[in-house]
């Protein structure tokens, strides 16, 4: 049983995000990138399945860019067995990213593809369905539990309002992971360094992305600030305000 986990870097919200001069994208000068939180959960869920004995091999895969190597070596230090980075292009959105991964995955063997349910930069959540569509296999998103038996997997999918669905899915399948059974683990730096010295990241060309991006950003702006808030000293002050506003 082999899982390929797709990873993506997103802007780290520890920095104040600013829109650049074009008004259409983020100013990336001072942005720090980090692994998308949901992808970290996808990786953790895969590692937990491997530790339970249900899965034999995990490969981490990501598009090449600043910090990609370290992110992939960290994935290996946590428990992945190998890593692949996609070169030769710069996918502009989920559709192009899905095409890029699908091109490379077409020549790979796997039983399951894990992605994070969405990435915090575009909140699109379409990568899994797009890959499922290209590679003709089932896709379940918002997954919070995976059990494997033979050629099928039993998947727990979360719905809004606290509902939970259970699916039996034929493998291979694409799963968009919402949450692993435990918080993503920490990779000790000495382990990451050891991996960097002893292993390498395999490069694969992402090939033809097929078409230009089908959506474009018209404008980007931070949310408008409200009028602010006022801290009141006591209940009497609150009553005065409510009287002023004609509420009471």
């Amino acid at each position: 049983m082999k899982i390929i986990v797709l990873l993506k870097q997103v802007p780290d919200l520890v920095e104040d995000l600013e829109v650049d001069a074009s008004g259409k994208t983020l100013d990336t000068d001072d942005i720090k990138f980090k692994l998308n939180e949901y992808d970290d959960h996808a990786l953790e869920e895969a590692i937990l399945l491997k530790e339970s004995g249900a899965v034999d091999e995990i490969i981490a895969m990501a598009v090449d860019g600043d910090g990609t190597d370290k992110m992939l070596f960290t994935a290996i230090a946590k428990g992945a067995d190998g890593a692949v980075k996609l070169t030769g292009g710069n996918p502009a959105d989920s559709h192009q990213l899905g095409k890029a991964f699908s091109n490379v995955l077409a020549s790979e063997s796997y039983d399951m593809i894990f992605t994070g349910v969405q990435s915090v930069d575009d909140r699109d959540g379409q990568l899994g369905p797009i890959i499922g569509s290209y590679l003709r296999m089932p896709c379940v998103s918002v997954v919070s539990g995976v059990k494997v038996s033979g050629d099928t997997a039993v998947i727990h999918k979360e719905y809004s309002g606290g509902m939970m669905g259970e699916f039996e899915v034929d493998l291979p399948a694409v799963l968009g992971i919402q949450a692993a059974k435990q918080s993503p683990r920490y990779a000790p730096v000495s382990k990451i360094r050891q991996v960097q010295e002893t292993m390498s990241v395999i490069e694969a060309s992402m090939g033809d992305l097929g078409f230009g991006s089908r959506s474009s950003v018209a404008s980007m702006a931070p949310p408008e600030k409200g009028a602010g808030s006022k801290m009141l000293e006591d209940v009497e002050a609150l009553i005065d305000v409510l009287k002023d506003k004609g509420v009471i």
Binding site: D12, V14, E15, D16, D30, K32, K34, S183, R185, Y186, P188, V189, S190, K191, I192, R193
Partner: protein
């Protein structure tokens, strides 16, 4: 011996005590049978570690127990750890692994030199590599690995405390062609990011400026010193931080490194050289200022007529033998009424923040009757102090919390020595 008064109940044909079969003739007790029947797997694993050897030297005299700050509020200490290992306990997966604050008081009294300051990091490193890290500690390690500080703040925000602060400070990371400085001041995480630490950092700047010290800071290029990370077993992270900070010390020409934090002092003086192969001319700020005590005394006009006691930081005192410098500064404060606590200098009580304790509050709370910091503030109040002076950036936040959690709010003020000096020179921030 047959008529010995205990003979009847010592001699048992069938006896299993603590899972160990001690059946048979009474005189079997003279044979080394019991100890050989224990599972020594984990004892051997500890003593086989590089740094773990001395765990096996313990001969159970228990001198450590009397001085262990954790035993004072629970049941702990090197002797007990040894005994538990001897009876087969897996320390690598036991909470005891994380309770030691590496305060070094046990080593001070140990006739066998069982060194928990080496045993704990070695054993914890194995636990870290195996993924057995308490969740609260994991968050801290993740933050330091990603952002270079335990708070998980952006590196750029390390100098945010300088905003709207009109004292001159040279941030060397912002200078195009940085000229040499006499003093490179390592500000440290808590002085940079913690609100009360910011107060002390500003005091340091004012005192430096009044003394005419030519100093600069690393700004956003400064990262956590890594000493606590080393002590919780994250050796790789410590090495990465030592390489980073070591490279900054090389980059910016200076005569002397002055640090706010005893943990940084310990790291730069004793452990960075093993990573970077460089020696550092480093002083804790109390040492640096104590050398200028005459100038300081002249500058301090404003009296500070309060009853003050002082908490020795473990990493300045026991670890590095500096007890006088902070006291030199305190005794020079005009109008001060200084009193020692019962446990002071070599016998100083640990605040609980060292060795990773700063980020293990939940785990420690589950295994102790009160926080070490709570025990300490009670002592300060008991000796009649109204101010607890400190000189480690961990301590203001720890002790201020402890004052509140022991219902002593308003009875004890916690303040860094540098803030008192600043008050006496400049009346603090003017308020």
């Amino acid at each position: 011996m047959a008529d010995h008064k205990y003979e009847k109940w010592i001699q048992k044909d069938d006896a299993i005590i603590d899972g160990i079969d001690v059946s048979g003739e009474w005189n079997k007790m003279y044979e080394p049978r019991e100890i050989m029947n224990y599972d020594l797997t984990y004892m051997d694993k500890i003593t086989d570690l590089d740094g773990g050897e001395s765990m096996g030297w313990c001969y159970q005299c228990a001198q450590c127990i009397g001085v262990c700050p954790v035993d004072n509020v629970g049941s702990y200490g090197p002797r007990k750890i040894y005994r538990n290992l001897q009876t087969g306990q897996n320390l690598f997966e036991h909470p005891d692994l994380w309770l030691c604050t590496t305060c070094s008081n046990c080593l001070r009294v140990c006739p066998k030199e069982v060194d928990m300051m080496k045993i704990m990091p070695a054993a914890r490193e194995q636990a870290v590599l195996d993924g057995n890290v308490p969740a609260e500690l994991q968050d801290m390690l993740q933050n330091v690995a990603e952002y270079g500080n335990p708070m998980g703040e952006s590196a750029r925000k390390r100098v945010r405390w300088l905003r709207k602060f009109d004292e001159p400070v040279r941030d060397l990371s912002k200078e195009e062609n940085p000229q040499p400085v006499d003093v490179l001041w390592y500000v440290s995480d808590y002085f940079s990011f913690h609100g009360r630490g910011n107060d002390a950092a500003k005091s340091m700047v004012r005192v430096f400026n009044r003394l005419g010290v030519d100093f600069g800071i690393l700004g956003k290029e400064e990262k956590c010193d890594g000493d606590s990370q080393r002590l919780v077993g994250e050796t790789g992270l410590f090495e990465e931080l030592a390489e980073h900070n070591g490279a900054q010390f090389e980059k910016y020409e200076h005569n002397k490194l002055v640090v706010s934090d005893p943990h940084a002092y310990n790291a730069f003086k004793n452990f960075y050289p093993k990573v970077t192969n460089k020696e550092y001319n480093v002083q804790h700020y109390t040492q640096f200022l104590a050398e200028q005590i005459d100038d300081l005394t002249t500058l301090m006009k404003q009296p500070y007529p309060k009853k003050v006691t002082f908490h020795d930081p473990c990493y300045l005192g026991r670890h590095n033998g500096e007890y006088n410098a902070p006291r030199t500064l305190i005794n020079a404060i005009p109008g001060i009424d200084f009193m020692e606590m019962f446990r002071c200098k070599e016998q100083g009580y640990c605040c609980g923040g060292g060795g990773g304790g700063m980020w293990l509050d939940g785990l420690v709370a589950d295994h102790t009757s009160e926080r070490l910091s709570e025990n300490r503030v009670k002592e300060a109040i008991e000796v009649g102090a109204e101010v607890l002076a400190v000189c480690c950036p961990y301590e203001v936040s720890r002790f201020e919390d402890a004052v509140k959690s022991t219902n002593n709010d308003g009875k004890l003020e916690v303040i860094d020595i540098i803030e008192i000096l600043d008050y006496c020179i400049d009346n603090g921030d003017g308020s």
